[in-house]
Symmetry: C2
Subunit: 247 residues, 2 copies
């Protein structure tokens, strides 16, 4: 019976480490059946709840697959998942110790066109917040932000001082938990965009199109053009996590 309770901070974690070590070392390969709950109970002298919740954690994190009636198996390899943490651009620039300046090119409440209405799932003609902001770092234009928002779901969006704050920051406060999707492309700027961002014709830009929704509906859609050194995204790569315990 394996007993390392004191040294390792809990039976639960001992079991978790046991399993992950075996998987990492290749002793247990994808598809392999691993010991059952009752076998772990004997190995560790643990109760079933302890074993169960250790294996449950690992299942939620994508390491295991469990089938009622059959057993617990090492999950098949998953695709790489790259994770990018997007920060508020104002904070990002300030953290670098640089100066941020925003040029507000558009900021108004409009009526949704048919196309926009479809994207937001609202009625055509409904009020829609529209903005266009050029962000500069140390005087150099690095990002052009084209933004639309549903004022129903993001109240007071017209009150945001876009020269000092961002819709992003507002979102964080009002809709801290949300979902969305994002598309990243390499693009060339239009003539207008080229002038605004003060880049040479033919400069490659990173375009990020992001749609964000809360349970009530689409909150905001943004198209972000990044230029120069800012035309980069850095992220972590991990095995994809199962979407465990959806709710």
């Amino acid at each position: 019976m394996i007993k390392e309770k004191i040294a390792s901070g809990g039976l639960r974690h001992s079991i978790i480490r046991h399993v992950t070590d075996h998987i990492m070392n290749g002793l247990w390969k994808a598809g392999d059946r691993i010991p059952s709950e009752s076998e772990f109970m004997q190995m560790y002298g643990a109760s079933r709840m302890t074993v169960h919740h250790a294996l449950r954690d690992l299942t939620a994190r994508g390491y295991l697959l469990r089938k009622t009636g059959s057993g617990t198996f090492v999950a098949p390899p998953r695709p790489y998942t790259a994770e990018y943490a997007h920060q508020d651009i104002v904070e990002e620039i300030i953290e670098r110790g640089h100066t941020h300046e925003a040029q507000v090119l558009r900021r108004e409440m409009t009526e949704a066109t048919a196309e926009q209405a479809a994207e937001f799932s609202i009625r055509p003609g409904s009020p829609l917040f529209a903005a266009l902001v050029l962000h500069r770092e140390n005087g150099m234009a690095i990002e052009l932000e084209e933004r639309y928002a549903n004022p129903e779901l993001l109240p007071d969006c017209m009150a945001i001082d876009l020269s000092r704050s961002t819709v992003f920051a507002r979102l964080m406060l009002v809709r801290p938990y949300r979902e969305g999707n994002e598309t990243v492309r390499a693009v060339l700027p239009s003539d207008d965009e080229q002038l605004l961002l003060a880049v040479e014709a033919g400069s490659p830009l990173l375009e990020i199109t992001r749609r964000t929704w809360s349970p009530e509906g689409v909150v905001t859609i943004a198209r972000i053009l990044r230029a120069r050194f800012h035309a980069v995204m850095r992220g972590k790569v991990r095995p994809a996590v199962a979407d465990a315990v959806r709710f």
Copy 2:
């Protein structure tokens, strides 16, 4: 006492939904203290273990913060996290019902230069696998893959039939659980790359540089150039998940 055991698939999930609903609706805001375990026990007529593991799940997923002795609190808003699932390009093309063709431009075992040795944390002159593969979809060049790998950690890499399979696929089998980082940029191709990918001069490309390591060290470094419709990445946006239960 709230009882919805039958309708909702478990007390645990009822409690999880209770909490997430309140957070999503804004009834509980960041930093707010939420009911204690014993209060939830009374509300749901549940045992402490059930309540505890429901709240534990939510903590692991970044929704809550728990402090022994103080209580449970709504976690402060986190930055957007965009998650991109990278698939094996061969599988991706085949799933689209198209034909995949790989042109192997380089495939050899070299000796690591000083620079490469530093990136892989190996000794200069150590063997290093190097490859350059051009991937075509329906005959059209869409991706140029420049790849290096440490043969110590990725055995048999010279044996991979790069015209039919990928180093990616090999990695999935041999190193299913790994970590890494990734950088995405918008770039213009070099003259060589432009010719190989058969794009016009000045076409913007998506460049993905990925470094992958296992517990033993850096396994592989890849630089991927994506052209045309393939110069896109689509991902999901979610609140960042706490790195819970590290081990």
